[in-house]
């Protein structure tokens, strides 16, 4: 076959074939993001653990706070089976967490950056708050006036979050010892929202 004929055949084939199986590219559109959940550790009320009296006749606020904190981390085994009650102090609660194999971070110097980190990472924390009491820090809340407020879950009053302006909160927290502790486990999953849509 003449080379030119071959070339003509190839040209004809090449002309006919392109266009088949060509991909149609999807068009992706971003969808608006909703305002962030406030507070970031928005533990449902039905999961709040109320304070209780232990065998020694002491309140178990630290353990109740830990259970609320663990519930936010979806550690229902902790909530159900944490064996301790009665009063607690910082070194012993840390020792007990060590014995149980839990990773945690803590501060004893009322370092606000620690709470900022706990908020940014969605962990929250337990902390000394109110006289001889322990509560759960659920995150910072931004009010309409633009200020930050600490959202506190007091295990004596489950079912609500108490709000305290940030600067005042830090001052008072320092007076209560400035201790805070957070478990280093994945926190609960965020409420998902549809972030993009495919069109075409």
């Amino acid at each position: 076959m003449h080379p030119r004929s071959i070339l003509l055949v190839l040209l004809a084939v090449a002309t006919c074939l392109p266009g088949c199986d060509l991909p149609t590219q999807p068009r992706v559109r971003a969808l608006p993001a909703p305002p962030p959940e406030q507070p970031v550790c928005n533990l449902p009320a039905e999961l709040h653990t109320r304070n209780w009296l232990g065998p020694l006749g002491q309140g178990s606020c630290v353990h109740a706070s830990l259970k609320n904190h663990a519930a936010w981390h979806n550690d229902m085994d902790f909530v159900a089976n944490w064996p301790y009650s009665d009063g607690e102090y910082a070194t012993r609660v840390r020792q007990r967490l060590d014995d149980a194999g839990y990773d945690y971070a803590f501060t004893e110097r009322y370092d606000a950056r620690f709470l900022d980190w706990c908020d940014a990472t969605g962990h929250g924390a337990i902390l000394w708050w109110k006289p001889s009491h322990c509560c759960t820090f659920m995150g910072w809340v931004v009010g309409d006036d633009g200020r930050q407020y600490a959202a506190i879950l007091d295990n004596n009053y489950p079912g609500r979050f108490e709000l305290v302006e940030r600067e005042q909160f830090i001052r008072l927290w320092s007076g209560y010892g400035g201790f805070a502790l957070c478990l280093l486990q994945p926190p609960a999953t965020s409420i998902p929202y549809r972030s993009y849509a495919i069109e075409g």
Binding site: P3, A14, T15, C20, D21, L22, R27, V28, R29, A30, L31, P32, P36, E37, P44, E46, H48, L53, G57, G59, C61, N74, Y89, A90, D103, Y104, R109, D111, D119, G122, W128, P131, S132, H133, C134, W140, D144, D145, G146, R147, Q148, L153, R160, E162, L163, V164, L172, G175, L184, P187, A188, T189, S190, P192, Y193, R194, S195, Y196, I198, E199
Partner: protein, 419 residues
């Protein structure tokens, strides 16, 4: 070769060469795969509508705090007894573990208006020790202000459907994506729904940036498919690493968190389900029920594709900045770590301070959390590169390569004939 030989390219040869070049460019740029059948979608994620508050509005409490009595000064509180970190914390030593402190609904007009708007009651409480009064709102519900005076807890219908429909449409189409429109601006409440508040007296708070990682949620029942899904995440190396590098949670139908937060979004009928989210909760991939792939490799491929789609509309910075880690050790002491950080010697080789007078060390240093750097090293960077078209041959590609081979052969024959 004879130096007197002259090459005279014919018009046909030139046309074929040009055509092949154009088609090669099209092959390298275009990636496609055969569409896969799409089952009836059954999972819909909630879509935020501008002009409506989507999430909870716990922060909406009265700006007018004239009803709040002045709190004791710090010094007075300290004189009343200075607790230390090691003081026994009980607050029930008197047996008052279930105090019935008086709580009354706030009667202030501003508070009432806001309370009515939010459908909540704002409680004020005078603590026994005379401390500050706190405004508070009920916890746990997701509040959505849908209009003036209209507030309802967010409890939408099954929202899984539209999302997975989009996901599978995306999976059925080529990797290359073109963003349609830029992301919308942050929506705001209608002006008439915003209560009048005094001008802020304190410094405005900077927008909060989330420090969360990407999130992986598995919704499981006791079915064989659930067990298989768990096995994929245990045995497949990439899925296992993905699980380790994300904030991974597992939910069952009986889980209280699931019932309270996700039951309306991921119904039990869709179990087992997989949800991959950005650090702020934006969906990346959602699949479940009959749309769950049949093997781990397909699931991984779907996840990679979904990451590509999501990244096409997300900034790289928002993904890359969502990772900070913590030292994986027990008893991690923030105070000690910060102190050590501040005591680190300056680096003479620091390009920012060649004269040795370095700026202070970064005071925003954060502890590192367990796990790796998140999603991108596993699923991100390799997705955009797509496939190497030289080594991937579809039907059209085979024909084109055949044409290229034959053209090359013909050119070789022509050159040989001329010699």
């Amino acid at each position: 070769m004879d130096p007197n030989v002259r090459f005279h390219p014919t018009a046909g040869l030139v046309a074929v060469v040009i055509l092949h070049a154009v088609l090669l460019a099209g092959v390298f740029a275009g990636l496609h795969r055969s569409p896969t059948p799409v089952d009836q979608p059954q999972i819909v994620l909630p879509t935020h509508q501008p002009g409506h508050n989507f999430g909870p509005s716990v922060g909406q409490y009265p700006a007018d705090r004239s009803h709040v009595p002045a709190h004791p000064k710090l010094d007075e509180m300290k004189q009343a007894g200075s607790p230390t970190a090691d003081e026994l914390k009980t607050q029930c030593s008197t047996g008052n573990c279930h105090p019935a402190a008086s709580m009354t609904a706030n009667g202030q007009s501003t508070a009432s208006a806001l309370a009515a708007q939010l459908g909540a009651r704002i409680y004020t409480q005078h603590l026994a020790d005379g401390q500050s009064v706190y405004a508070s709102l009920p916890a746990g519900k997701v509040w959505a202000v849908t209009g003036i005076g209209q507030t309802q807890a967010y409890a939408g219908p099954n929202r899984w459907i539209a999302l997975t429909a989009d996901m599978h449409r995306g999976l059925a189409t080529p990797h290359a994506v073109n963003p349609l429109t830029p992301p919308s601006m942050q929506p705001t409440l209608p002006e008439s729904a915003v209560p009048t508040i005094p001008a802020p007296t304190s410094k405005p708070v900077a927008p909060k940036q989330t420090g969360r990682k990407h999130q992986l949620a598995l919704f499981l029942d006791g079915s064989a498919r659930s067990l298989e899904l768990q096995r994929w995440f245990r045995e497949d190396p990439t899925l296992r690493d993905l699980s380790a590098n994300c904030e991974t949670q597992t939910y069952t139908a009986g889980n209280a968190l699931y019932r309270a937060r996700y039951a309306d979004i991921v119904p039990v009928s869709q179990f087992p389900a997989v949800l991959l989210l950005a650090p702020d909760g934006g969906h990346i991939h959602a699949t479940g029920g009959s749309m769950l792939p049949s093997d781990a490799a397909s699931l991984l491929s779907d996840l990679k594709q979904a990451v590509a789609l999501a990244r096409s509309v997300q900034s790289v910075e928002s993904i890359a900045s969502a990772n900070s880690g913590a030292l994986r050790e027990r008893g991690y002491n923030w105070d000690t770590a910060v102190q050590q950080q501040s005591q680190q010697p300056f680096q003479i080789s620091n390009p920012n301070c060649p004269d040795g007078n370095c700026p202070p060390t970064d005071s925003t240093w954060l502890p590192r959390r367990p796990g790796g750097d998140g999603l991108l090293p596993l699923l991100g960077p390799s997705v955009d590169s797509g496939r190497n078209a030289l080594f991937w041959l579809g039907n059209t590609d085979i024909i084109l390569f055949g044409l290229i081979a034959m053209a090359g052969l013909l050119i070789a024959v022509i050159v040989w004939k001329r010699m």
